[in-house]
Symmetry: C2
Subunit: 128 residues, 2 copies
DNA sequence: GACATATATATGCGCTTTGCATATAGGTGT
DNA sequence: ACACCTATATGCAAAGCGCATATATATGTC
């Protein structure tokens, strides 16, 4: 973790960014530049385009997406990505995992924040 | 991403693991060995203890937790961690961020999976 | 005593990931 | 010619991470 993450709003990275890109591709195909813009519009801060292009190629090597060149539009060619079955599976697994993670966090936080400690409280409340 | 993540169940890492450790420390203090066990009991697979010890020290350097030695019990000394205000703030930020991420994912997935495409569908459904 | 085992923390090594800057290239506008 | 926007890609240094290993304290057992 970097010092920025400590105080500021977190940004997606790693599997989290992978999942969001897959979700953006669900049902439609899109190219990197477009996906980066959509992430920024979705409320996450300015995304690093280099990292996104790299991650997309990596996802293709892993089989989560497939790509084709699109030269029909004016301007530079676009590498257009589509979701694969493996990508779909990954996305579903991720949603389930995220749910478990979130439920675990909220349960722990609520338990410690709002209630008297359970009977088997081995450590006692924070002393400092 | 590694090839294991593609098919298998994801495990927490990075900020996600940080958040879970902070949640485990909410209201109580605990030491690394204990936290590692609790993570495994929480349903995540066998966690790497080295990574957890390292992350905890890193979190301390970042100000998310503080630590003291506990020599009262038999056996080796235990480094006992407690949540700081900054750690609490990070945990709250993380929960909010996670919520945004999850809502975004589910909205996109539901939109593409169950409905006819919106009027401004620039790309059209996946062709393959 | 000698040895294995469980508890508890820490670190070295190598691979991967990531942020930042930079490169390359096609197209538009002045 | 020049600046600017779109679009993708890569080099480099730093950080992150899995795995093995080291260190130290106590218990049990031969």
């Amino acid at each position: 973790m970097n010092e920025k993450t400590t105080a500021g709003a977190p940004r997606p990275s790693g599997d989290m960014l992978t999942a969001h890109l897959l979700a953006l591709l669900k049902g439609w195909s899109a190219y990197g530049y477009e996906l980066a813009h959509r992430l920024e519009e979705a409320g996450f801060g300015e995304m690093n385009k280099g990292s996104i292009y790299r991650l997309l190629r990596q996802m293709e090597r892993s089989g989560l997406v497939s790509s084709d060149w699109d030269t029909s539009a004016d301007g530079p060619a676009r590498r257009v990505y589509s979701l694969t079955d493996a990508g779909n599976l990954f996305l579903n697994n991720w949603l389930a995992f995220l749910d478990a993670h979130r439920r675990g966090l909220e349960q722990l936080a609520a338990l410690a924040g709002g209630l008297t400690p359970p009977t088997a409280n081995r450590k006692g409340p924070k002393k400092s």
